[in-house]
């Protein structure tokens, strides 16, 4: 069995009095695609925000490659290879597509401040490299033709892909996808599945939240089911489809 990449240990998060995530534990192994499902408001996105460091858990710990990253801010988690997309899209709308993706490359371009403002040769070299990486990621998603468009002007589906390219440009080891298929039509959804598989094959571990059962069940090797902040089941898609609790709460009977 592959090495454990991320280990979530008994984390909880409450906002005021509301418990959004309640004592959840699970592991993700290297190279896996894992999905989290559950009704709206069951704490999926909060869980994502805890892992990516945008929220700090009220209790519990998170380990990445065995390192305790529980208290790390988001930028630090990003710097060790945890990259993410956002449910409601969080593109830099005033920037062009390529600039957005370049922000993803940001982590790996050790740009010097002085070489940047004085435009030393090192700056041009780094910019060129960064652009090559960015273009490569855009091509991977088949959207290199819109590189110079302004992000805010793109249709929703394309914005999703740009956001994914941006996350990929950070060369993540763990990619968190928050509802990657929402807003995409059937055609785009099929492509999305291919892309996600391709990313996994390149060695990126993926944790995703997805409502489209079709996608979830066909992509994920393991599924976690949440309800009101609690983990109610974890297993292969087949296992969870047979789980009586899951059927009762989520899938519905009959």
């Amino acid at each position: 069995m592959a090495e454990v990449l991320l280990s979530v240990d008994n984390i909880s998060k409450n906002f005021g009095g509301l418990i959004a995530v309640d004592n959840i534990s699970f592991n993700i192994r290297v190279g896996q695609i894992k999905a989290i499902i559950g009704p709206n408001g069951s704490g999926k996105t909060t869980l994502f925000n805890l892992i990516s460091g945008h929220y700090q858990p009220s209790s519990g710990s998170i380990y990445f490659y065995g390192f305790n990253i529980t208290k790390w801010p988001a930028w630090k988690s990003a710097s060790v290879g945890i990259s993410r997309t956002f449910q409601n899209l969080a593109l830099f709308t005033n920037m062009s597509v390529i600039e957005n993706v370049l922000m993803g490359v940001h982590l790996h371009t050790k740009a010097g401040f002085l070489s940047s403002i004085f435009r030393l040769p090192a700056f041009f070299k780094r910019e060129k490299e960064a652009r090559e990486i960015a273009i490569e990621k855009l091509s991977l998603l088949g959207i290199s033709d819109i590189a110079e468009k302004k992000c805010g002007d793109l249709p929703f589906g394309l914005q999703r892909l740009v956001e994914m390219a941006r996350a990929l440009a950070a060369e993540p080891r763990l990619l968190l996808l928050d509802e990657p298929a929402s807003g995409l039509d059937i055609h785009d959804r099929n492509r999305l599945c291919e892309i996600i598989r391709q990313i996994r094959d390149e060695g990126v571990t993926i944790l995703m939240v997805e409502h489209d059962m079709n996608i979830t069940m066909s992509l994920a090797e393991e599924v976690i089911v949440l309800d009101s902040g609690k983990k109610i089941c974890e297993g292969t898609p087949k296992e969870i489809q047979r789980d009586p609790e899951v059927i009762r709460i989520y899938l519905g009977e009959g």
């Binding site: 408001g41 249709p155 929703f156 509802e179 409502h211 079709n214 069940m217 489809q241 709460i249 519905g252």
Partner: protein, 243 residues
């Protein structure tokens, strides 16, 4: 009662609805199902006057309401229970209900009657009428949202995702109360991701996908439709994964 013809709505450059047509008759419960991002909430917001469509027409009892502001639409008798409930959390339950009747706040007697009616349908709200609405449980907040819309004395009630974040037991309760309101003569359009529940209580249904109605029919027909089953009812995954 309500008829929508060829409705187009965009957010900036992004087209969300691309020619939606549907109609609702007096006394019906109509379900609108579809995945996240299909445009269901946009449709609801457009009917209730929060959004302006690019083109198309919306007629309520023969009257063109497309240019009406939200308050006028409420006055005509269409009330929306928005997605995510959107109750006034720091206000008390009673204040929320009073604001539901904002447009007829002079009609003290009528409000009193409606409050009694609401409290008989949702006794929980009576118990908590002086509590801050934000302290209610998810299910109670959903009841409050429905009750608040009811206080405007609508004839057409639009429900956007009433199942959102509710436990199954509570959902059952909410659905029962929706049926009860329908029996009192209220016409209802319900938008749901939880297609099973929506098709269970409704008479007819539409399937919305990426801004277009791709399917319509009686709820019973839709429940049997293979595409609907595959995409929305969450059954027979095994078949799909093994294919």
């Amino acid at each position: 009662m309500l008829s929508i013809q060829n409705l187009h709505v965009s957010y900036g450059p992004i087209k969300v609805l691309k020619g939606v047509s549907l109609h609702i008759d007096q006394g019906e419960i109509v379900a609108l199902i579809g995945a996240n991002g299909a445009g269901k909430t946009t449709l609801m917001s457009t009917i209730s006057g929060l959004l302006r469509p690019q083109s198309g027409e919306i007629k309520f009892e023969g009257q063109d309401i497309i240019k009406f502001p939200p308050d006028k639409i409420v006055k005509l008798g269409i009330s929306l229970v928005p997605e995510g409930r959107q109750i006034f959390a720091p206000l008390t339950v009673l204040e929320n209900l009073e604001l539901g009747a904002y447009l007829r706040s002079k009609d003290k007697k009528g409000i009193k009657e409606d409050l009694d009616k609401i409290f008989s349908i949702f006794p929980k709200l009576k118990e908590r009428k002086n509590q801050q609405a934000g302290t209610l449980s998810g299910g109670e907040q959903q009841m409050l949202a429905i009750a608040r819309a009811f206080m405007a004395r609508p004839r057409l009630l639009l429900l956007d995702e009433p199942s959102l974040g509710l436990a199954p037991m509570v959902l059952e309760l909410i659905m029962d109360s929706i049926l009860e309101l329908n029996k009192e003569g209220l016409t209802i359009l319900i938008v749901e991701q939880n297609a099973i529940k929506a098709l269970e209580i409704s008479t007819r249904g539409y399937v919305l996908e990426t801004g277009r109605i791709i399917l319509q029919g009686s709820s019973n027909e839709l429940k049997e439709d293979p595409d609907v089953i595959r995409a929305y009812l969450g059954k027979d995954y095994e078949e799909i994964t093994e294919r």
